[in-house]
């Protein structure tokens, strides 16, 4: 089953697919998919993300493979739904998408072993975990200014039940910018796979329902510009659409933050 959360006509609804252009709300109404506001498909708890978790992307960034996963956390304001807009500050020179398989926890996981890890997964969705490389510094890298920006982690459109996919999912993923494919890979190529990640994390940190693990991205990240439409797709999970917006739309006309920073 695929479920979304959308805002429509003054309320938030659970919704299911109803053909290519429509969705069905839990209250029985069928509405156009462009006529709703898509929210993240579940209420997220802790947002956990992986860096350097595809061998090809590690090479792309000239890093050596690691013996422990590179894990970082984000604040909840980072998440936005399908068809949302993500701000690109005017001072940056390299902002890129990252198409990722997102694993949503369904039951508490503490000190879970690999063999039983997938029992704790509610389902899967798609994430687009933007990064602004200009803001990278070598302290607790990648830090929150790079990776926990308001609205810079798109997620959705659907939460797909784990039972509907092979375990763990081995699916092709791809990203296109303005209709041109720029990234492709397959979730079977994770350096640290999903059972490993759940075992690793739950050894020191309880995972709770709604916690989500963004499993990293393969090679093929390119700079995006204001006005671009970025589509992240995973076979069987759907297409996650995002638009790049400028500072003006967010009431940041003069790049004031940049000046302050140079103080």
């Amino acid at each position: 089953m695929k479920r979304a959360r959308v805002a429509y006509s003054g309320a938030i609804h659970e919704a299911t697919p109803a053909g290519d252009e429509a969705i069905r709300l839990a209250d029985g109404r069928t509405v156009g998919e462009r006529d709703v506001v898509w929210l993240p498909p579940f209420e997220a708890g802790t947002v956990i993300a992986l860096g350097l978790n595809y061998a090809d992307h590690v090479r792309e960034l000239s890093f050596k493979p690691q013996d422990e996963p590179l894990v970082f956390l984000k604040g909840p304001a980072a998440l936005i739904g399908h068809r949302g807009a993500t701000r690109r500050p005017r001072d940056v020179t390299f902002m890129h998408y990252e198409c990722e398989l997102a694993v949503v926890i369904g039951k508490p996981a503490r000190r879970v072993r690999r063999a039983r890890a997938l029992e704790h997964v509610a389902g899967y969705t798609i994430a687009n975990d933007y990064a602004i490389r200009d803001y990278l510094e070598n302290w607790y890298r990648p830090n929150l200014r790079v990776k926990s920006r308001d609205g810079a982690t798109a997620i959705g459109p659907w939460l797909v039940d784990a039972a509907d996919l092979e375990a763990p999912p081995q699916r092709a993923l791809r990203t296109s910018v303005n209709g041109k494919q720029t990234q492709s890979g397959n979730t079977r190529d994770l350096v640290f796979d999903i059972p490993f990640l759940i075992e690793y994390l739950s050894a020191f940190m309880t995972l709770a329902p709604g916690d989500v693990i963004l499993t990293g991205t393969p090679e093929g990240v390119v700079d995006v510009a204001v006005g671009d439409e970025v589509v992240c797709e995973i076979d069987g999970l759907g297409r996650l659409v995002n638009r790049i917006a400028g500072d003006a739309e967010f009431g940041r006309p003069s790049g004031s933050a940049v000046k302050e920073e140079a103080r």
């Binding site: 802790t46 956990i48 510094e137 929150l144 926990s148 916690d211 940041r252 302050e260």
Partner: protein, 238 residues
């Protein structure tokens, strides 16, 4: 204000399992001596220079320790020692997005005492959440004191006690970024919401404790936090 701060007044964090009432962010390397303690290494790889931007860690919900609960340490593994980072917790009261330093403190509801316990680490290159986001490692409380009662959050003395003995004294006056500057810099890229807490940062060379220790942190005018450090229960077969 009691309504606003209710998530921290009792064990209500887990009431709605899909929603975290507030997020706790810890400022790192925010003490004037933090980088001095690293010496020449700051200029060398992997760091290649001091940080220019605010450096933060997220403390996830299971890391939080509410008043009266113990701080937990892994009694058997490679994380059997914790450093006790005494910090001022800045409790956000109004949504703060892209606020200036001058406006920042008007978005603060109050302050509380925090003992942010982390596994000692030599390196500061990667986020290392295995050392910094452990279950039951970040103690909060016991109460939030209103911003009006504190006045200037940047001139407070913090005292850390282990088993009753005073082991460290620090001051929020020694921070690289003031409370207002932290809120301004964070809110430039990440909206702070009511109920969020920003830890203003702790001094380097924090005292280390093991299971069995009693920890207390006192901040003048804000209060005193007491917590017992206990060993994690033995791992159960999964």
């Amino acid at each position: 204000m009691s309504l606003l701060l209710s998530p921290w007044a009792g064990p209500s964090i887990e009431v709605a399992p899909y929603r975290l009432s507030g997020t706790v962010y810890a400022a790192l390397l925010n003490h004037h001596r933090s980088l001095e303690a690293l010496g020449d290494a700051v200029a060398e790889p992997p760091y290649r220079g001091a940080p220019r931007q605010v450096v933060l860690a997220v403390k996830p919900r299971h890391a939080l320790v509410l008043p009266g609960e113990p701080i937990r340490v892994d009694g058997t593994g490679d994380a059997d020692v914790l450093e006790v980072g005494a910090a001022l917790g800045i409790v956000i009261g109004r949504t703060a997005c892209a606020v200036t330093e001058a406006e920042a403190l008007a978005h603060v509801a109050g302050y509380l005492v925090v003992a942010d316990c982390t596994v000692p680490r030599r390196m500061h290159f990667r986020p290392q959440i295995r050392a910094m986001a452990r279950d039951a490692s970040c103690a909060l409380g016991p109460r939030v004191v209103s911003a009006a009662a504190i006045g200037n959050p940047d001139a407070l003395t913090l005292r850390t006690y282990v088993d009753g003995a005073l082991v460290r004294t620090a001051s929020t006056a020694d921070q690289v970024r003031s409370a207002a500057r932290l809120i301004a810099d964070i809110s430039d890229f990440m909206t702070l919401a009511p109920g969020d807490i920003v830890l203003a940062g702790s001094a380097p060379d924090a005292p280390a404790v093991r299971a069995g220790a009693h920890v207390a942190v006192e901040i003048e005018g804000v209060g005193r936090l007491d917590a017992q450090v206990v060993a994690e229960p033995a791992a159960r077969a999964a």
